[in-house]
Amino acid sequence: MPAIHLRLGAFSAALALLAATTDPSVAQKKYDTGATDTEIKIGNIMPYSGPASAYGIIGRTEAAYFKKINDAGGINGRKINFVSYDDAYSPPKAVEQARKLVESDEVLLVFNSLGTPSNSAIQKYMNSKKVPQLFVATGATKWNDPKEFPWTMGWQPNYQSETQIYAKYILKNMPNAKIAVIFQNDDYGKDYLKGLKDGLGQKAASMIVAEESFETSEPSIDNHIVKLKSSNADVFVDIATPKFAAQAIKKVTELGWKPTHFLNNVSASVGSVIRPAGYENAQDIISANYLKDASDRQWDNDPGMKEFYAFMAKDFPEGDRLDGGTVVGFGVAQTLVQVLKQCGDNLTRENVMKQAANLQDFRTEVLLPGIKINTGPSDFAPISQLQLMKFKGEKWELFGDVISADVGG
């Protein structure tokens, strides 16, 4: 009896070996935890509740987009199982949710987790577990650090890239400018300021004639603007979140100061900044962008935006297409789908990072024309191009070429 068993065992082993060697598609399939023949499990952490709950719309847009992909047959025949948890914008909760996703739900990767504090809290954990922390939803520059953190990657242009682009523009068009800067005294403000100084290079010390910082706890930043005006600067770089940016725009006009005004992209929203500050006060302000604005009529007949509008109408009717978060969620979800398509049947975590760092001239059509997503083994900043725009009448007008600036963290 034992002999028969042995022979049977040897036979079946040989058969299995034969099957494995003759069918190449079986041999090539490689999976890590979270991926199977039928499913790819993706984790996500969003502030659905708490102080930043307005951003929760991004996660809901992504869920709707993945559902649409699944309904159309999935990616290479695999359905996306999107597990999204709420961290209420609290770092300790984010750690708990990240551990739940990795250890309990066993996802293949964590995608587009939102917020600088939350992502900072889980970065070390994700990298020690070697689970991709892909396309994080924050603009901090530190996510582009493939040497220290090879499992973390950003998506949107980082803050330093943006001010570097302003610096390039200033050096080219106003080489003798005297620059006054106001910045919010936190990681975001300091990141922007560093980009400006790096962009100006050696001339930074002589060109920046005045620097003022403010705390978000201050009720008004008017007194800082008055101080900056007294420096007689002819360029004003405005690094502030929406509420303060609106104050600054108003105050500059009130004082009769007429500098070339650069406004950071964070506050470029017409609805929440420019309109409250007054259209007449905002004429000729310069800013930069990388996405098409859904409230801008010029994209009404644009094929890319039409696809987005159709998606919103059919798959996510409860979402507000004018909310910037829906455009971001749509774009970043498309980028992930592209990465997973590139992975083919090799759905290991290592290959996911390899393919994420191998995006060449990829475009989601909600990006401005000419802007492309490019990554490489030492370039973990997917979008590093922006286009300048000037405020005319009641909307932004794009001008000039698409400008690149790659910054590492």
Partner: protein, 347 residues
């Protein structure tokens, strides 16, 4: 003579009520302890991490319970003390290179001092006014942590990353005899459990001591207490100090478990959660702290599984149900259970 005898025999009975009401029976305590010790041996690391957080928040809720349940003072500022404890531990570990276990008593002492000092002005306030003053403290704390002056130490908005400790080598060697290994999570859990038990026993004894009786006398009637010779000002500030000190230790443990401190982790939301935990667990009933802590950790997850967009509303409904059905929290449930068991025994 008989009346005098009555008084003599009655006196200890009167005194014993708050004692028993504050704690669990000896047998029940052992069962709870055995569960807490055994469960981590059978679950995944992630669950162990959640249980560690459960113990840590339970400590913070216990601290608030001593303050509110013991001395009758309200505080919505516990998140501030928790933050100070967390930052003290994190800074000592990362900048000074101190052993994690040593940072905890320091965090406790720093917070005790901080709480004691805050208790001084708080003396003039009572009830809702005191709650508001502590609320201001909780709102101010995240911004203070971001201040440029401290940034070199606190890491500003970016926060500080803390290294998670391994189990001591001696223990690891012992575990390897049994062909087992002790993960970081498991070690931290038992470490937290040991600290938690020590603090729990100390707290129970504190409330049974002279100081504890003084706290309760102040809670029940301040004027009567001072007429009996209790130094109201001293004991009120002392209660604040002790509560802040324990919260600080909890904060330090929290920093080590989460491996990260940042101002956004210690907002007013945390203070309200701790307050909620205390009410759900039963005000003044120390064992309820762990039930309250379980409520604030697990119920939001349950609420989220019902509906993402409405998780806050679902949580609100659940909270409402709990407060409506059992206004005295876990304590009430425990009493009902005790009565039921008593009846069963009789039958």
């Amino acid at each position: 003579m008989s009346t005098a005898e009555d008084i003599v025999t009655e006196a200890p009975a009167v005194e014993a009520v708050p004692k028993r009401a504050m704690t669990l029976g000896f047998g029940t305590s052992l069962v709870v302890l055995a569960v807490l010790i055994l469960v981590p041996l059978f679950v995944k690391n992630f669950i162990i991490f959640q249980l560690t957080m459960l113990l840590i928040y339970a400590l913070a809720v216990l601290a608030l319970n001593i303050l509110t349940g013991g001395s009758g003072q309200f505080s919505l500022g516990q998140s501030a003390f928790y933050a100070v404890g967390a930052y003290t531990s994190a800074i000592l570990m990362e900048h000074v290179g101190m052993n994690y276990a040593l940072t905890l008593p320091i965090a406790g002492i720093v917070c005790f001092g901080f709480g004691f000092l805050f208790g001084q002005p708080a003396l003039r306030l009572s009830g809702v006014y005191l709650a508001l003053a502590t609320f201001a403290l909780a709102t101010a704390m995240p911004q203070l942590l971001k201040l440029g002056y401290f940034e070199h130490w606190t890491g500003g908005v970016q926060g500080l990353v803390v290294t998670k400790p391994d189990a001591p080598e001696l223990l690891q060697a012992m575990a390897s005899w049994f062909h087992k290994s002790i993960s970081q999570d498991m070690w931290l859990y038992y470490f937290t459990l040991a600290v938690g038990i020590a603090i729990y026993i100390a707290s129970v004894n504190l409330l049974r001591s002279r100081s504890g009786r003084a706290f309760m006398a102040i809670r029940d009637n301040e004027i009567a207490a001072s007429a009996m010779g209790v130094d109201v000002a001293l004991y009120k500030t002392l209660a604040f100090g002790v509560s802040a000190g324990i919260t600080g230790v909890a904060g330090g443990l929290g920093a080590i478990a989460v491996q990260f401190v940042a101002p956004d982790g210690y907002t007013i939301t945390l203070a309200i959660q701790l307050f909620l935990g205390m009410v759900v667990g039963g005000v003044g009933w120390l064992p309820g702290s762990i039930v309250g802590s379980a409520f604030i950790i697990f119920v939001p997850n349950i609420a989220e599984s019902f509906s993402k967009g409405l998780s806050g509303a679902v949580f609100g409904v659940l909270l409402f149900l709990v407060i409506f059905l059992v206004p005295h929290g876990a304590r009430q449930v425990a009493i009902v259970a005790q009565q039921l068991i008593g009846k069963l025994k009789k039958n």
